[in-house]
Amino acid sequence: MLSERFKNLLATIRFRLVLWMIVVVFVLVAVAMFGVRQLYRARLLSDFDRGLRGDIEPVAKEIRDGFPDWGRIEQNLTKIALAHPVQAWFAEVYDDAGKKLAAGGFRDFQPPLRAFARSESPQPHDLLPYRLIVARLEEPNLPPLYLRIGGNRQSLEDDLRLLDRTMMARSLAILLLAPLGGYILALRATRPIAKIIATAARLEPSRLQERLPIRGTGDELDQLSQTINGMLDRIADYIDSNREFVANAAHELRSPLTAIRSSVEVALNRQRSPEEYGTLLGEVMEECQYLSNLVNRLLILAEGDAGRLGARRQTARLDKIVHESLDMFGAVAELHEVRLQAGALPEALVPGDEFHLRQVVRNLLDNAIKFSPPQGGTVTVLLRTDPARRRAVLTIQDQGAGIAPADLPHIFERFFRGDKARQRHPGRHSSGLGLSICQTIVQALEGAITVGSRVGQGSTFTVVLPLAVEQPLASAAPPDPAASVA
């Protein structure tokens, strides 16, 4: 559509730049020209006036010389008028009562009486098209006299008009050239943008290798290109890690599926006793459970990636959750001769929902017990609040084998499994997702999870969460006594 294309053109930066340039140039030219004109006019007027003031003395001299012969004076004044460069120059002499005594030069001038002002400080003034000056002449051997000297200021107006015409012509030329120059400048300025648009339009999620050229000028457009390139790098990294995640997830799903398939195949191979079927189906069921656990864990990570974990405005009592988790793992710890030691649990209201916070505490506690040495050891759980810095700090420390320094930077990565030998129960069903889920959840709640570990001495996981802004009174009750440590 033509009108559509026209609309698009109107919307371009280039068009708007040109439009603005025209407006700005017009205003600047108008202001400048007007200023010059006013200056020139003032200059012309002051020259004219200086001329008139300068004429007072020669006229006075003629009067002094010729007095009281007014006829002679008039003759001499006419001589001055003829030689005078000002058009229609005239000089008149009046007495105190306003009676004209002599006049020379241009005679058609009939000034009204009020123009004959008796001014002590004579100022030239206009009686268009004339400009004149009135001066009082006081000499010892003359009666008090008034001089009126003036002339037509038409030549001045002519000069001004000539100036106006010249300036108009120049302005018009500038105004015609400005859009053209503006268009060229705008084109130059926006060409890199057009390039950016074209490059960006070529990018596909499957093909993100291309980057915008950096011209090295360091200007805003270079900065824009650099920013976009940085963003593309991050997007490409994100997509890569997502691809890897999907591939890993598929791989993880494959192992329980294989197990299910083998069990079912064995079951279908030949007729079996009900007991055998029961055993095989039980195995299938266990694998199914593992499969759905895995899917649930992947979903938590997916929700975290989508930024939906921290979005809900909920608060939870971290101390209650820790208490409850200690209860949950108390018996397991006892079974493995692990001493579960917890300090006082101060009330800690943190943002986040209980379901996800439980995942964090339980996963860390489970790991701590799992990685404790075979002869037992102590798992220490500490929760403290730091109201000054508005945060709650949970540390879970074990006395296990510790994490190898080479593994330490990777333990929060998805599907990362450390040295299995350290694990007391190297079950096939370790998803390698527990810690990355912890990290995803904690980070979604604007907290941080860190680990410190020494081989042979154990590991300490620290979770820092912000304290919730408001501490509702309703939740100030102590933890449910029924949920005490078993």
Binding site: G278, T279, L281, G282, E283, V284, M285, E286, C288, Q289, S292, N293, N296, R297, L299, E303, R308, R312, E324, S325, D327, M328, F329, A331, V332, E334, L335, D353, E354, F355, R358, R362, N363, D366, I369, K370, H425, G427, H429, S430, G434, A482, A483, S484, A486
Partner: protein
């Protein structure tokens, strides 16, 4: 009990129907939304099991129409949408309970029992089986006449098992009952408690009372 199942997936529908029949419930299985609504409006059921992504009509809209007509039959929503906000949405739309696929039949049966009980009966003060007696008020347990001392966790587990005596109680159900939400880690946090409970119950009964059902959970011998 008469139960209406509205579920479009043939495998799940059939399994649910079989499971319900074997638990001695009469079951009507409908595979489409509008037909399900017709059934629910024309016949009285004690509970409705409702899938959400149905052909013809979404489960939520069906639920809305049902509640709009004043039908208060308990509804258990069955769905693959499992995030917390999905659950909240389901419960605010008038569902009585929410079960995320994949689910275990034992859990569905227990939840049907629970919503129906919620709808009709008052909670019992004590629970009885052939050998066990559990007093909910005094929190005392006796087995074959011998009083048994239980920790609060063991008491809760036994209570749960007795409420569903003769039925399978899954680890997930026990976990949720004890600690609010399921623990899906590899460490079997229930097993230890069950083993202790078994040891304590042996004092009063020669027969093992709690059976482990592989891959499913535990069941208390009914008789």
């Amino acid at each position: 009990m008469e139960i209406l199942v509205i579920e479009d997936d043939p495998v799940i529908g059939k399994a649910v129907q079989m499971g319900l029949n074997e638990a001695s419930h009469a079951c009507t299985w409908v595979r489409e939304g509008p037909a399900g609504l017709d059934q629910a409006l024309t016949q009285k059921y004690e509970a409705i099991v409702l899938d959400l992504l149905l052909p013809g009509e979404h489960g939520f809209s069906l639920l809305g129409k049902l509640r709009g007509r004043g039908i208060k039959t308990p509804v258990i929503v069955l769905t693959a949408l499992g995030s917390v906000s999905d659950k909240v949405a389901g419960l605010t739309k008038g569902a009585d309970d929410y079960l995320v696929k994949p689910f275990e039949m034992a859990e569905l049966l227990a939840r049907i029992d629970a919503v129906c009980r919620r709808a009709t009966l008052k909670p019992a003060a004590s629970l009885q089986t052939a050998e066990l007696s559990l007093d909910l008020a005094t929190r005392r347990v006796s087995c074959g006449g011998t009083e048994i001392d239980l920790t609060p966790t063991e008491f809760s587990i036994l209570e749960m098992l007795m409420r569903h005596a003769g039925q399978v109680v899954t680890r997930k159900m026990l976990c949720e009952n004890l600690w609010e939400s399921d623990w899906e880690g590899t460490t079997n946090v229930i097993e230890v408690h069950i083993n202790r409970l078994r040891t304590k119950l042996q004092k009063g009964s020669k027969e093992p009372l709690i059976q482990t059902i592989r891959g499913r959970g535990y069941a208390l011998r009914a008789l």
